[in-house]
């Protein structure tokens, strides 16, 4: 009798062990798949761009030339446009997202929270090309008529900042692209911030209120320090999206292969260059230059995320984790 129980138990144990082993293998395969896919994407872009890198060397990264007729290519103008438009987007999006998240968690009445949250998620679901079209047909003319002429008039003559805001009011340009990108990344950042703000233990907040803190002090001194790492993570998620955004930027950035100090002037970005020119890139060197540009974007994104990780590690060390 006890022998039968032992045999049955042994069979069950082997069955469970097998199931466990299978589960581990499948899950590991999924994890490895991510790494392999990432490495394959990076390698294929590098491989496609090797002709351009061989031809132009590291000078590819800081050359302003982009001449398809004479086959001279350089990545500086797209890199500049990508970084500047993303920077403007972040400068606008981070404070606004912060405000939205705090409003949703601290200030808003209970009946408003769910509809507002749903509205933000809807904003995240709008396709990027719709943002581009809205930017081109609604935002750009509005800015060209009412905002940019005033910026040029009042700020254009200031000693240092003036150069940033002078120029003809085209409507399309770096600042418009930054604005559209900001509107696109706000839903992502504010969702992450809101979810994380809600995890702050209410005991901490109640204690602060009990000691006489205002809402501002609670937000700044209790909520933010508690959620710092996750907030920075959310910001860099939004930044990743802004760096790679293609269609919205193509519509409103102006696709001009030039670097201009002024934010009112058009420029070009890496993703927009590739999207615009890849279909008609007939010569191998042209295609290779565009793939090399893709690899450069990969490097830029990687560098930005690595920076994020470093910042988080330093913050964690300071907090004593």
């Amino acid at each position: 009798m006890s022998m039968q129980i032992a045999i049955a138990a042994e069979r069950r144990h082997r069955h469970d062990a097998f199931g466990d082993w299978l589960f581990r293998k499948i899950v590991s395969a999924a994890g490895w798949f991510v790494l392999i896919a990432l490495a394959a994407a990076a390698f294929s872009m590098y491989w496609g761009g090797r002709e351009a890198f061989a031809e132009f060397g590291p000078g590819f990264l800081w050359s302003q030339e982009w001449d398809p007729v004479r086959e001279q290519y350089g990545a500086l103008v797209p890199i500049y446009g990508t970084l500047v438009s993303t920077l403007i987007a972040m400068l606008i999006a981070v404070p606004v997202s912060f405000g939205i998240a705090l409003f949703l968690t601290e200030v808003a009445p209970a009946w408003l929270r769910r509809p507002l949250g749903a509205a933000i998620e809807l904003l995240a679901g709008i396709p990027s090309i719709i943002y581009g079209m809205w930017g081109l047909f609604v935002l750009a003319p509005f800015l060209a008529e009412h905002v940019y002429p005033r910026l040029d008039e009042h700020l254009g003559d200031w000693p240092l900042l003036g150069a940033l805001f002078s120029g003809p009011p085209l409507g399309i340009g770096m600042l418009t692209a930054g604005l559209v990108l900001a509107i696109m990344v706000i839903p992502f950042i504010s969702s992450v911030m809101r979810d994380v703000f809600m995890t702050v233990p209410s005991r901490l907040k109640e204690s602060a209120y009990a000691l006489g803190s205002t809402t501002t002090e609670v937000a700044w001194d209790i909520v933010l320090p508690y959620t710092r790492s996750a907030v920075v993570g959310g910001i860099f998620l939004g930044m990743g999206r802004a760096l790679g955004e293609t269609m919205a930027v193509t519509f409103v950035l102006g696709n001009a292969h030039q670097i201009n100090a002024s934010l009112l002037m058009p420029g070009n970005s890496i993703a927009a260059s590739i999207a615009n020119e890849f279909a008609e890139a007939t010569t191998p060197m042209y295609q290779s230059a565009l793939l090399a540009l893709g690899f450069v974007l990969f490097l830029v994104t990687f560098a930005v995320l690595a920076l994020a990780k470093l910042m988080l590690m330093r913050l964690a060390r300071r907090e004593g984790a």
Binding site: V69, R70, A140, A144, A256, H257, P266, E277, E280
Partner: protein, 338 residues
């Protein structure tokens, strides 16, 4: 009773399906976006007339050339003609399909369509950045009596590579040595100044929005979107406006018979009434196709287009080929295909 009825209905439907697929062919093509509206319309009309279908992918001239060289489609389409040596090297034949015109469009408050006159040199200088205001003496000299405002010129060009650009910069290279030396020609060039719109639609949108803008788009887009376009001085020295008549005059003046494999770019055509920036779209087919039936069907399609597609093309703003040219194409097919 019901079961046998449904079974017989199903078998009829299946037989009909097999029968129709046995007869109806699907012809694949790829290339320039310039002719995409015409291809869609011809494909629909051809399908109604014969039941065969054309599947045309508008991936750009470069893509079309690559695909026909790789023999993955039945025909390719390009706005820039390939040289006879390149055709011979890849075993391809080339012939024109339809024509169109490229017009300089502008947005200057107070100046209506048809009032503004430009010429090739001035256009090239504007695109080089040498002329930056609308009331520049060079423009005023061409337009005596027209009140030109002191408005900055914003140059709009194409951000993507395109056959429209190819024909436009080909014209500028022919009329302006400075342009030829500084920029050159191709489907994508290093524009000295200006903003880039994506596609003809993008350029149209920018020109309509930005005061003082100048751009170049196809005549069909200018007509559909009601964007004012300027007169140009042609090779004979006369100012002409873009229209079906002036583009056909440019085509008629072209010495197609002298060209090998129809390698001829129609820009700056001679003739008193010729429009200076006429563009032709070229079809490329393989002499040794992988799919001989598809090749034959494609030729039948184009024969049908030359015979029956003129009105549809004209309605869309294209210019159909003159009869003499169609005869030359038929003779060309005869000598290259068995």
């Amino acid at each position: 009773m019901l079961k046998s009825l449904t079974r017989s209905l199903a078998s009829i439907a299946l037989a009909a399906g097999i029968a129709s697929t046995a007869q109806a062919a699907e012809i694949t093509g790829a290339g320039a976006s310039f002719v995409f509206p015409a291809m869609s319309r011809w494909s629909a009309d051809y399908n109604a007339a014969t039941g065969h279908r054309i599947n045309y992918q508008s991936i750009g001239s470069g893509g079309g050339i690559a695909q026909i060289k790789a023999n993955t489609v039945d025909f390719g389409s390009s706005d820039a003609p390939l040289k006879p040596e390149e055709l011979a090297g890849s075993g391809l034949v080339q012939f024109p399909s339809v024509m169109g015109g490229i017009v300089p469009v502008f947005h200057v408050p107070g100046i209506a369509a048809n009032q503004l006159r430009l010429d090739g040199q001035v256009l090239a200088d504007i695109y080089l950045g040498k002329i930056s205001k609308w009331n520049d003496p060079a423009i005023a000299a061409l337009n005596p009596g027209l009140a030109l405002p002191e408005l900055r010129i914003t140059v709009v060009h194409r951000s993507d590579g395109s056959g429209t650009t190819f024909n436009f910069v080909n014209y500028l290279s022919k009329v302006s040595p400075a342009w030829k030396q500084q920029v050159g020609e191709g489907t994508s060039v290093r524009w000295p100044t200006g903003v880039g719109g994506k596609g003809n639609e993008g350029v149209t949108a920018y020109v309509k929005q930005i005061k003082g803008a100048i751009g170049y788009i196809e005549l069909s887009y200018a007509l559909t979107n009601q964007v004012p376009y300027a007169q140009l001085r042609n090779a004979d020295g006369r100012f002409v406006q873009a229209s079906t008549a002036s583009i056909q005059a440019a085509a008629a003046s072209a010495r197609w018979a002298d060209s090998r494999d129809f390698h001829l770019v129609l820009t700056n055509a001679p003739g008193a009434d010729s429009w200076p920036i006429a563009a032709t779209n070229f079809i490329l087919m393989s002499k040794q196709p992988k799919n001989a039936e598809g090749n034959r069907q494609a030729r039948e399609f184009f024969g049908w287009v030359y015979a029956n597609g003129d009105q549809a093309a004209a309605e869309l703003g294209y210019v159909p080929l003159p009869d003499e040219l169609v005869r030359q194409i038929a003779a060309y097919w005869g000598s290259h295909f068995n």
